[in-house]
C-alpha cells in the first residue's frame, strides 16, 4: 500500500534533502493523533492535570526508536514486518503476532467509528445514521483504492488539532507547573491511573502503526542508502506527534482539570478548545475528530489485511477479486464492519470505548515489541544495521515498563474490586 508517511527522497543528501524529507511525516504523525489519541490525552489531562506529562516525555525516545526500527527493518530487508516475523519465527509465533495485530486493528477500528459517532452527535446526528454511512464511505474509499486525493483533504482537516498548541497557550497555564510536571515522575496508585497510562502508551506507540511505517518504506523502494535521509522524516513525525499530544494534555489540564470536568462525552472534551475557538469550539473539534477518524479508519484495515496475508502467503492486493483473494478482502471488510457494528450496540458509551480500545493497544504493544527487537538484532536479517546498545536498552525497558503497568493495572483492578483499596 502507498501511504501518507511518505519520505519521497531518493538518493539525495545534504541539509536540503533532510528538510525536504521532513514534512510528510510530520503531517502524517499529527494525523496519527486519531480519536483514540485525542480522547485519551484529553482524559489524562482532565483527570490528572499535568501529572502525566513526564510519561509523555519519557515515552518520546522509545516512540522514536520503535518507529525508526520499523523503518530501518523495511529499508534493509525490503520486506514487511509480518513477512520478517514469519520468516524468522515460523508459523505458530506468526499466528500469535497476527492475532495481536488483528486485535489491535479491530480495537482501533472500533475507536475510529466511536470518533465518527461522537463527532456527528455533537451536531445532533444519530450514530445509527452516521456510523453506517461512514462505514460505507470508508469501505468504498478502500476498495476503489483512489483515496490519495481524499487522503490529502482528510489530512489537512485533521491538522486542526494543531490548534491545541494555540489553545494551550491561550489557556494561560502556569508554565512553571507544566515544566515541573514534565520532569517530575509521579504516580497515583490506583487502577484508573494505570489504565490511562497503559492507554496513553498504546495510543502513542500503536502496534499497527509499526506495520504501516515499515510497509511504507518497503513500497517506496527505499533502501539502506536512502534510509540515512529518510529516517529523519520518521523521527520528525514521531516528535511532532508527541508535541501535539503534550499540548492536548496541557490544554485539558489547564481548562478542564481546574473545572473538575471528568470527560464523559465528546462535548466535554471539546470544551478544552474554548480558549482558541470560542463559539466555534464544537465545529472545530468535530471536524478534526471526524476527518482523523475517517483517515485512520481507511488506512488501518488495509494495513492489517496486507500484513496478515503477507505472513501467511495468501493472495493480496486491491486489484484481486473476492474469488482470487478471499482472505485479503475478508479481513479489511471484517475490520470495518465489526468496528461500525460494535458502536451500534445500544447503550454503548463512546468515551469508554475510545479509552478502552487504547488500553487494548497498550497491553498488546510489548508482545509486538519483543518480536521487533529480536528481528532488528538478527545479523542474518539486518547485517551491520542491527540495533545499537542504547536502542536495545530503551526498547527492553519499554517492554518491561508496559508489562509492569499492565500488571499493576490488573492488580489494582482486582484489589479495588475485592475492596482492598
Amino acid at each position: 500500500m502507498r501511504m501518507a508517511a511518505a519520505p519521497d527522497t531518493r538518493r539525495r543528501t545534504g541539509l536540503l534533502a533532510v528538510l525536504a524529507a521532513i514534512g510528510p511525516g510530520i503531517v502524517a504523525a499529527s494525523a496519527g493523533n486519531d480519536p483514540g489519541g485525542i480522547s485519551t490525552y484529553s482524559a489524562v489531562g482532565a483527570r490528572y492535570g499535568y501529572t502525566l506529562l513526564w510519561a509523555m516525555l519519557a515515552m518520546t525516545p522509545s516512540f522514536i526508536i520503535v518507529q525508526e526500527m520499523a523503518g530501518r527493518m523495511g529499508a534493509v530487508s525490503g520486506k514487511g514486518l509480518a513477512a520478517l516475523i514469519r520468516e524468522k519465527f515460523g508459523l505458530r509465533p506468526s499466528l500469535f503476532a497476527m492475532t495481536c495485530l488483528l486485535t489491535s486493528a479491530i480495537a482501533t477500528s472500533v475507536a475510529e467509528f466511536a470518533g465518527v459517532a461522537a463527532a456527528m452527535e455533537l451536531f445532533g446526528v444519530s450514530r445509527y445514521l452516521s456510523v453506517p454511512l461512514a462505514a460505507a464511505a470508508v469501505w468504498l474509499l478502500v476498495t476503489r483504492g483512489n483515496y490519495r486525493n481524499v487522503e490529502k483533504v482528510l489530512l489537512a482537516l485533521s491538522l486542526v488539532f494543531i490548534s491545541y498548541v494555540a489553545a494551550a497557550i491561550l489557556a494561560r497555564p502556569e508554565w512553571t507547573d507544566v515544566a515541573q510536571a514534565l520532569v517530575t515522575p509521579s504516580v497515583v496508585p490506583n487502577a484508573e491511573f494505570m489504565a490511562l497510562t497503559v492507554g496513553m502508551t498504546g495510543t502513542t506507540i500503536a502496534p499497527w502503526m509499526q506495520f504501516l511505517v515499515q510497509s511504507n518504506i518497503v513500497d517506496k523502494g527505499i533502501t539502506v542508502r536512502d534510509w540515512a535521509v529518510a529516517k529523519w522524516d520518521v523521527i520528525a513525525g514521531a516528535i511532532s506527534a508527541n508535541v501535539v499530544a503534550c499540548f492536548i494534555i496541557i490544554t485539558a489540564g489547564a481548562v478542564l482539570f481546574p473545572a473538575g470536568i471528568r470527560i464523559t462525552s465528546a462535548e466535554e472534551a471539546a470544551r478544552a478548545l474554548e480558549p482558541v475557538a470560542g463559539g466555534y469550539t464544537t465545529l472545530l473539534f468535530s471536524v478534526g475528530l471526524l476527518s482523523s477518524a475517517l483517515l485512520s479508519a481507511a488506512v488501518l484495515p488495509l494495513t492489517a489485511s496486507y500484513a496478515i496475508t503477507e505472513a501467511f502467503g495468501w493472495e493480496r492486493g486491491l486489484d484481486h477479486s473476492w474469488h482470487e483473494a478471499p482472505v485479503f478482502n475478508g479481513i479489511y471488510t471484517f475490520i470495518i464492519v465489526f468496528g461500525a457494528a460494535f458502536i451500534l450496540i445500544p447503550g454503548m458509551d463512546l468515551i469508554t470505548v475510545l479509552l478502552l480500545s487504547q488500553v487494548v493497544n497498550g497491553v498488546l504493544l510489548p508482545f509486538l515489541l519483543v518480536f521487533m527487537i529480536r528481528i532488528v538484532n538478527d545479523r542474518q536479517v539486518m547485517g551491520p544495521y542491527v540495533n545499537s546498545r542504547l536502542a536495545n536498552i530503551l526498547c527492553w525497558s519499554t517492554v518491561v515498563v508496559v508489562f509492569g503497568l499492565t500488571a499493576a493495572m490488573f492488580g489494582f483492578q482486582i484489589a479495588e474490586a475485592v475492596g482492598l483499596l
Binding site: 460505507a136 501467511f312 484481486h320
Partner: protein, 620 residues
C-alpha cells in the same frame, strides 16, 4: 509421508542409542527433479550446530527419530556444499515463485517421501493444509475431518522443486536439473505478471538475473504505472541500455513518464541513433498516430531491383519491428509507394522496384487519433500503416501490435463506461463500483434524509421548538421533509436519464447522426411530462392522505411534477455535454454523469418543495 515441520526438533540417536541432538535442518542436492536429502543438520548439546552426510551416516528415519549407523565418536562431520539448499533455512516460511502457476507464494511446509532409506523432496506445500499442520497436526486433522463431514476435502497444494525459484537465495551458482524452470527463463509477459506481485527490492533482484533483451521485453510488458518506477530503480547505465534495446515507441512512452532531468541523462547515455529515434517520438501527443508509431521503417529507393531490396532487408531485419512492408521513398524521405513482402517474394530478382510498387497508399497523419488509425488498419487488413506529414515525408509506421493494443484499450474504455469504472481494476473494486453505482441513489437519499434530520434537530433545539419562525418557513420545511421521503422517485428518474446518455455514448453515433440539442430536449420533454404527471399525482395523493389539505397537496404535487420534468431535461442537457466531451476525446465517467443528475434532482426537488411552502402560505 514425512513433513519437514514434523521432522524439526525430533531426536538424533547414534548407533548405541544415545541421544546426540535434535534435527534442525536437512539439505538437498539441487540437480534433480525430486532432490535427494544429502545432509542432516542437528543441534548438539549447548545448541552447537553439526552437519553430517545422510547417505553415509543415517541408518533410518522412522518419523519419530533419526537413527545413525555409527556410534557418536565415529561420525565425520561435514560442511554445507555450495550446491546444497537447506530446506528450513532457505525454503520453509520463505516466499518463492511458483513458475508453473505464475504466482508468488509462501512455503508453509515441505513434503518428503522415503524409499529405500533415501529421503526425497516431493515439493513445497503452499496451501492452507501446511498452515494448519504448522500450527498443530491435530488442528489439521480436525479441520480435514470437518471438511469431510461437509463433503469436501482439504486440498494439498504442492509445488515441485523444478518449478520453484527462490527469491531470497541466489541460485545462479547452483547447477539445477534441465527441467528446472527459473523465473527469468519464463516468457517476458509471465515474468512481468510475477514482478507485479513483488516488492521493489525483490524486483530489482529479479532484474539483475535477466539479460538486457529479456529485461527490455519484460519492462515493455509491465503495467504502465510500474514501468517508470522500475526504470527509476535501476542503475542509470543499465536503464539506458534497456531503453535502447526496446522498440523506440515503447521506450518513448516510458521516458515521457520520467522526470525531465532523469530522462535527459538516460538519453545522453544511449547511442546517438537510439536516442534520436526516441527523441523524435517524444514530441508527439499521446493517443495519436505519432504517439504510437515507430520510426524504424525499412525504406528503399525507386532505382533498386528486387534482388537489392531483399539483400537490404536481410541486413536490417534484425532491428526492425515490422518488415512486412517495404516503403519506397525519393529525395528527402518522401513516400511514393509500398511493396509487400509477398510481392517481393513472388517477383523475379531483376525486376525494378518501380514496376511492382503499389502507388495507392493508405497513410495517417501524426496527429490523427489512434483509434481512427487502428480502425483503418483493421478495416483494410494492414500489418502496418505509414505515418506521413503534410508534405508526404515518411515519419514512421504504426505496427499491427500497437494497433491491437489501441483497439483493446478502446474496448475497455467503452466497457468501463458501461459498468461505471474509471479505469481498469479487479473484481473487488468493481464490486465496490457496482455497489456504488447500483446504490448510489441510496447514499444520496440517506444524505438528504440526514440533512433533513440535521435541520429539524436545529429547529427543535431552538427556543420554543422553532414555532416562532414565519409560517412559510415551517410549511416549506414540512414539504421538504415529505420530499426527502419521496426522493428515490426523483433520484431514479435522474439516474435513468443519465444512463440513456451513456447508452448513446457507447453506440458512438457520429455528430451528423445525432439529434440537435433543441430536438433532443423536445423529445425528452415529452417523456418527462408523462413521468412528471404520474409522479405528481402520487405526491398529491400521499400528502392529501397525510394532511387532508388538498391545497397543500396540490402545491406539493405541482412541485414534484416540475422537479421531475426539470430532472429529465437536465439529463438531456447532460447527454449533449457528455457527447461533446467524448467527441473531443476526453474521458467521460458514467458514475459522474449519474451522480451529477441525481444531485441535480435532489437539489431541485428540495428547493422546489421549500418554495412550495411559500407558495402555499401566499395562496392562504
Amino acid at each position: 509421508m514425512i513433513y519437514l515441520s514434523q521432522m524439526l526438533g525430533k531426536p538424533v540417536m547414534d548407533a548405541t542409542g544415545t541421544r546426540i541432538g535434535t534435527i534442525s535442518d536437512v539439505a538437498i542436492a539441487t540437480g534433480e527433479v525430486f532432490p535427494r536429502v544429502t545432509s542432516l543438520a542437528f543441534l548438539g548439546p549447548d545448541k552447537t550446530p553439526f552437519m553430517l552426510s545422510w547417505r553415509k551416516f543415517v541408518a533410518e528415519f522412522d518419523g519419530e527419530q533419526v537413527k545413525l549407523s555409527v556410534p557418536a565418536p565415529e561420525i565425520r562431520f561435514s560442511y554445507l556444499q555450495p550446491d546444497e539448499v537447506l530446506l528450513h533455512r532457505d525454503l520453509l516460511n520463505k516466499q518463492i515463485v511458483d513458475t508453473q502457476g505464475m504466482k508468488v507464494v509462501r512455503v508453509n511446509d515441505l513434503k518428503l517421501s522415503e524409499s529405500r532409506n533415501q529421503l526425497r523432496l516431493l515439493g513445497a506445500e503452499v496451501g492452507i493444509r501446511g498452515i494448519l499442520r504448522g500450527i498443530s497436526p491435530a488442528l489439521e486433522n480436525a479441520v480435514a475431518r470437518l471438511a469431510r463431514l461437509f463433503g469436501t476435502h482439504l486440498p494439498e497444494n504442492l509445488i515441485a522443486w523444478n518449478y520453484m525459484d527462490l527469491l531470497d537465495r541466489d541460485l545462479s551458482q547452483v547447477k539445477l536439473s534441465v527441467t528446472h524452470k527459473r523465473l527469468h527463463e519464463l516468457h517476458p509477459a509471465d515474468v512481468a505478471d510475477i514482478l507485479e506481485q513483488l516488492s521493489p527490492t525483490q524486483r530489482a533482484l529479479v532484474f539483475s538475473h535477466l539479460d538486457n533483451e529479456a529485461a527490455a521485453e519484460t519492462i515493455s510488458e509491465l503495467e504502465d504505472e510500474l514501468q517508470a518506477d522500475v526504470i527509476d530503480d535501476l542503475s542509470e547505465s543499465r536503464a539506458s541500455s534497456l531503453l535502447a534495446e526496446m522498440d523506440p515507441d515503447d521506450a518513448a512512452d516510458i521516458i515521457g513518464d520520467l522526470p525531465y532531468d532523469k530522462a535527459e541523462r538516460l538519453l545522453r547515455l544511449m547511442g546517438v541513433e537510439d536516442a534520436s529515434a526516441i527523441r523524435s517520438l517524444l514530441g508527439y501527443k499521446e493517443k495519436t498516430a505519432g504517439g504510437i508509431m515507430t520510426p524504424e521503417v525499412t525504406t528503399v529507393t525507386e532505382d533498386m531491383t528486387v534482388q537489392e531490396v531483399i539483400e537490404h532487408l536481410r541486413e536490417v531485419a534484425e532491428e526492425r519491428e515490422s518488415i512486412y512492408y517495404v516503403y519506397v521513398v525519393e529525395g528527402d524521405r518522401k513516400l511514393t509507394g509500398v511493396i509487400s513482402l509477398r510481392d517481393l517474394l513472388l517477383a523475379r530478382p531483376d525486376t525494378k522496384v518501380t514496376e511492382i510498387a503499389e502507388r495507392e497508399l493508405f497513410t495517417a497523419g501524426p496527429d490523427d487519433d489512434q483509434e481512427d488509425v487502428a480502425e483503418q488498419m483493421s478495416k483494410y487488413d494492414l500489418l502496418a500503416l505509414p505515418v506521413v506529414d503534410e508534405r508526404g515525408t515518411l515519419l514512421g509506421i504504426v505496427t499491427v501490435d500497437d494497433a491491437l493494443e489501441v483497439l483493446e484499450q478502446e474496448a475497455e474504455e467503452d466497457l468501463a463506461l458501461a459498468t461505471g469504472a474509471a479505469h481498469e481494476r479487479g473484481d473487488v473494486a468493481s464490486l465496490g463500483r457496482w455497489v456504488a453505482r447500483r446504490s448510489a441513489w441510496v447514499f444520496i437519499w440517506l444524505a438528504v434524509l440526514f440533512g433533513d434530520q440535521l435541520v429539524r434537530a436545529r429547529l427543535q433545539a431552538a427556543p420554543g421548538g422553532g414555532a416562532d419562525r414565519p409560517d412559510w418557513v415551517l410549511y416549506g420545511l414540512a414539504l421538504t421533509t415529505t420530499a426527502s421521503v419521496l426522493m428515490p422517485l426523483l433520484l431514479r428518474t435522474g439516474e435513468e436519464s443519465s444512463s440513456r446518455a451513456v447508452a448513446e455514448l457507447i453506440t458512438g453515433a457520429s455528430e451528423e447522426e445525432r439529434p440537435s440539442l433543441g430536438r433532443r430536449l423536445v423529445t425528452e420533454g415529452g417523456v418527462g411530462l408523462a413521468v412528471a404527471a404520474i409522479t405528481g399525482t402520487v405526491a398529491f395523493g400521499l400528502l392529501d392522505l397525510q394532511t387532508g389539505s388538498e391545497r397543500l397537496a396540490a402545491v406539493f404535487g405541482a412541485a414534484t411534477a416540475l422537479a421531475v420534468l426539470l430532472t429529465v431535461l437536465f439529463g438531456g442537457l447532460l447527454a449533449e455535454l457528455a457527447l461533446r466531451r467524448s467527441d473531443a476525446d476526453k474521458p467521460v465517467s458514467s458514475a459522474m454523469l449519474s451522480t451529477a443528475s441525481m444531485l441535480f434532482a435532489a437539489a431541485v426537488y428540495t428547493g422546489l418543495s421549500f418554495v412550495g411552502g411559500w407558495v402555499f402560505s401566499v395562496l392562504g
